[in-house]
Symmetry: C2
Amino acid sequence: MLFTIKHKDAHSNARTASLELLHGTVLTPCFMPVGTNATVKAVKNDDLEELGTNLILSNTYHLYLRPGIEVIEACGGLHSFMSWKRNILTDSGGFQVFSLSPFRRIEEKGIYFKSHLDGSSHRLRPEDVVDIQRILGSDILMPLDVCTPPEISREEAKQALVFTTRWAERSMTRWKSEFESSSSWLFGIIQGNFFKDLRKRSAEEITSLGFPGYAIGGLSVGEEFDTFRDYLELTAQLIPDPYPRYLMGVGTPEYILEAVEQGIDLFDCVLPTRTGRNAQAFTYNGPLSLKKESNKMDTEPIDPACSCKTCAEYSRAYLRHLFKTKEILAAVLTTYHNLYFINQLVLSIREAIRSNRFKEFKKNFLDAYKGTENDSLL
Amino acid sequence: MLFTIKHKDAHSNARTASLELLHGTVLTPCFMPVGTNATVKAVKNDDLEELGTNLILSNTYHLYLRPGIEVIEACGGLHSFMSWKRNILTDSGGFQVFSLSPFRRIEEKGIYFKSHLDGSSHRLRPEDVVDIQRILGSDILMPLDVCTPPEISREEAKQALVFTTRWAERSMTRWKSEFESSSSWLFGIIQGNFFKDLRKRSAEEITSLGFPGYAIGGLSVGEEFDTFRDYLELTAQLIPDPYPRYLMGVGTPEYILEAVEQGIDLFDCVLPTRTGRNAQAFTYNGPLSLKKESNKMDTEPIDPACSCKTCAEYSRAYLRHLFKTKEILAAVLTTYHNLYFINQLVLSIREAIRSNRFKEFKKNFLDAYKGTENDSLL
């Protein structure tokens, strides 16, 4: 994997870079749309390609349970199964086991859990998770880690960190022995909950293992924005400059801008797609709730300043009608707009970094985005 | 409206023709996809255009109730509202009042009914229905008629016929006095239930009113196929040759082929789109149920003989997975395939008519389509 930093912003830690992967070059900062079940919900692949998407995220936990890895293997891997020709990053499933499974037990050996779909029992060791993602054919793999919610004790956070490091070592060993030659790449994940010394310790332990890229887990999990920013700043600086930095689960404009400022290169979130299905659309003046009564006869597009296909063709009145009648096209058109909006934001961010005016861009964007009375907090 | 018969099949009543409408030329025989709520469910306009769709059907009853005609008027009419640049035929709403409304009363004056959405009370006179479709800006309008289910008494069927004729006269008067210059066209609808003398009487009365085209209502409403064929043959022959003939609510390959053989030019049905959303796909060897277990690892497309985008890119295994996970893409991809399949069928029909081998084509198609053990009756 070749990660080449192209330009560093003169007044912040923001940077542009290129990441060469097996299925094409990814320019960073980069937002990854989430395709949990081997589909970015409500978006066709050709629309994703048209949006310039070169890297999507898919979920190992979900695919492992349904359709099952044997199905995807029989279909020639995840790219072939979902007919996606560009890059895929798969998460390890750790976060989903903790957030979705009705039962789980963590042991040194691995995670024991019950499926949220049918209650069936499963065990996943770090080695299994590497093997599964190898069968999926992911371009970037993530190792099994122990995710923890906010407001746990220091002792619990420490125990999670210890497992996360040991599992990272075992994942690395597995990946090196079996798969390193495959042109896929395994990133490390830094945990440590909301304890600064544990964050530091996790970063030191994980980066000492020599991964080609590093992710920050356990942030943007419900904490206050100031807390998020503090821990992001602390953790991002602990990842050496030459490596790609991936902040997991971040997707609002405000969080993306903060992440980029702290030197983050990659981020993913269900937010643009999930809110799109729920009639929430991004605009440069803040989020717009499409279902509201005042849109009933509004012939304006979602955002007159947006040049996406949805805004070129359809009015707020029409989109409101589609949501009110529960038409599939409502989700299709609004999700497309939201992904286009985030992609435009990322393109503008890259351009701002290249001209050393990222902080000015961030301020101007957020002044407009947060300056008006918004329909909700996207 | 210019309706030009291009070729008559030498061995049946099948024919090809062109129908010049305000939003482009429609070649017949033509299947109209149904866009009830101002959207063909799960299909984007650009995909419809790519399919060669030049005429869709939308439902006056649904649009009248939601979003309301005033909304569509404010948005510049139905074409502008839904951003559809080609032709639209709107039904009169009569069928929907009879099939959906929890309460209705028919009087000489018009129909009184309650909305199936909120129970609100409405009255629609034949003149109102013409006016509404004029505001929608439909290319082809349908007059309010009285639809009746099978197995009613002769007296009931006769009463429905009488109203249908009187309302057709009033609709025609309204259309002529106000709107004839608008380049939109009002068709007549022949009713008469399953009584041959009433069918004959209705056809005589309606065709005497001088509409530019004629529809056959009240068939394909649950009757046996042989009954359908008998009444179709009888009624179709009562429509003079130079006029476009529209058979309402027909959409399976078997019914379409029968209709074409009897000289029908236009037909519409929710079937290709509705079944697509319910995991039923057309194949040349009969319908395929995508959810079934045997598709779990099937890497074949829906139909290897189909050249649509869905079949070019996606396997049965993937589509089954999308339906099992209730992903929006399942409906999007399968609906597209079903509309493509029906469109290919119609293209083949036209070609067969031009070369005077329609009956041979029909036999060969149905032998393959019905010859194997199918998953269901599409």
